[in-house]
Amino acid sequence: MSDNRWSFPDLGLGIGLRTTHYAHILSQEPEVGFFEILTENYLDTGGRPLHILDRISERYPVVMHGVSMSIGSTDPIDLDYLAKVKALAERTGALWVSDHICWTGILGRNTHDLLPLPYTEQSLRHAVARIRTVQEFLEGPLVLENPSTYLEFADSDMKEWEFVARLAEEADCGLLFDVNNVYVSAYNHGYDPVTYIDAIPGDRVCQYHLAGHTNKGSHIIDTHSDHVLDPVWELYGHTLRTVGLRATLLEWDAEIPAFEVVHQEVLKADEWRRQEVARAA
């Protein structure tokens, strides 16, 4: 168990910033460790969202989380997009910028989904080269999240956790470790999530994600529409023991309840964090 190699701070417990909670946050100023913003929601607006974000980033630490970097796509990297991401990071003072280990489209199109990569040497080389380019452009480490996936490619040369670990090491990037996504993908693909967690290089992990999901029986969809389920909490506890304390964020993106409900949900992580502090002492 160790700190991350960039010494990004453990910001405690955070919440994904959503428009339905703007009024509550500004009027009540709840005690929240940090807010994570969805990068693309603030890139092309000069209106109310950006105005609110300016006010929130004055009072709270902010981190940025994108969904359109498409780091695994074979399309060229969109430098205009990156320039806007960089400008927003400077404006908000974001402590780090994250996106996903995925691709979102090709031939100029964007499906706006986090599509899976085959875990091959070719994909690895391709993604590593692009991550390095992005990091040079952003002049800082890119933090990448393991996505939930619903299929596996037959020609993968390695397991997902091997791919993620090698990607982080070879590209020298950070990881946003989504514990719920590990649970979802493990269910969908029939592997042991603990094996995945144990293979992750802890010093690369800068942040954790937690979320609820929807079990369809035949497979699980990462819907971010509910409370975190007990098995995911158990995996979070295991991750704390193997990786260590990191900024932990709850995502709730569909059927979003009142702020207090989301806040109470993420505060459940505090007990797991306290247990880990006591165990480590």
Partner: protein
């Protein structure tokens, strides 16, 4: 093996082209996998050599998870930008609209916020759509509202700044509109449909009636005003940068005090509502 022969273990770019073809196909997952675009990249009979089955889903069903979520995401995004059109059409017809729209205007941006930018053009091109002309007007109104929402913020021209303009400069002065201002001449009366949506009442039957609307943002809220034809025409000339003297001369008969009063009232309203960000008092280039 020839370069363009289908490869059962495809390279990354071929695999991505294939998967995107399948995901964005408007038909069923079986139709998507067997579509010419997908077959060109990976023959459908090779699917099991490319995607593994899970303990409960076949390879086709696993790709189908992504295929099903694509249209749902597009429906959600367009419903957020066009709630009044959705209210008018109903869920099923609206979803049919989305399916057809994203085939001709797929997202090419990093943000879904701009997915619906082409909907007025779509209805202009698809005259076979029932009520296409009315829907185009309604789409123009809703698009103007989302554009006004996202435009850059500017300080608003106040009465004091206007009063400070020397009288001798008035004739050549030009007003600069705020970015979040859209002026819409429409063929149909669309405001009743907006109100029906907000009051959760059934949409009325579309009625053809020339309507002029200005959509604008004030204090981060998007607002609208219905205008007369004459108001619209004057505001249009001002937005286009016509000098005040020329614009006002066209709008208000100098010999009619009643018409001059009317223009003065309009002007007062537009300044109070914050339509303008500044006034340029330099003389026009000769």
């Amino acid at each position: 093996m020839p370069h363009d022969a289908p490869n059962p273990r495809p390279e990354l770019d071929r695999l991505q082209r294939w998967m995107q073809e399948v995901i964005v196909h408007p038909g069923t997952i079986a139709q998507a996998i067997a579509s010419p675009g997908a077959e060109r990249e990976i023959p459908s009979e090779k699917l099991a050599e490319v995607v593994l089955p899970s303990h409960s889903l076949s390879p086709a069903e696993r790709v189908g998870v992504y295929h099903g979520m694509y249209l749902m995401r597009m429906e959600e995004a367009l419903a957020a930008d066009y709630p009044v059109i959705r209210h008018f059409l109903g869920d099923k017809t609206f979803n049919d609209l989305v399916r057809e729209y994203v085939q001709s205007h797929p997202s090419r941006s990093y943000t879904l916020n701009r997915l619906g930018d082409h909907l007025p053009r779509f209805f202009a091109d698809r005259t076979e759509w029932p009520q296409a002309e009315f829907l185009r007007d309604l789409a123009r109104l809703e698009l103007a509202m989302t554009e006004a929402f996202d435009e850059q913020e500017f300080s608003v021209l106040g009465g004091e700044e206007l009063a400070a303009v020397p009288p001798e400069h008035w004739e050549h002065a030009r007003l600069r509109p705020i970015a979040a201002l859209r002026l819409l001449p429409l063929k149909y009366s669309v405001v009743p449909h907006l109100e029906a949506y907000h009051r959760d009442r059934p949409s009325p039957t579309p009625r053809r009636r020339a309507t002029w609307i200005v959509v604008y943002r004030r204090d981060y809220s998007v607002l609208r005003l219905e205008l007369s034809r004459a108001e619209h025409d004057l505001l249009r000339t001002l937005i286009d940068g016509v000098p005040l003297g020329e614009a006002l001369a066209a709008a208000a008969d100098q010999k009619s005090a009643r018409k001059q009063d009317r223009v003065f009232r309009w002007f007062k309203t537009w300044i109070a509502e914050g339509f303008f960000t500044g006034v340029d008092v330099s003389s026009p280039a000769v």
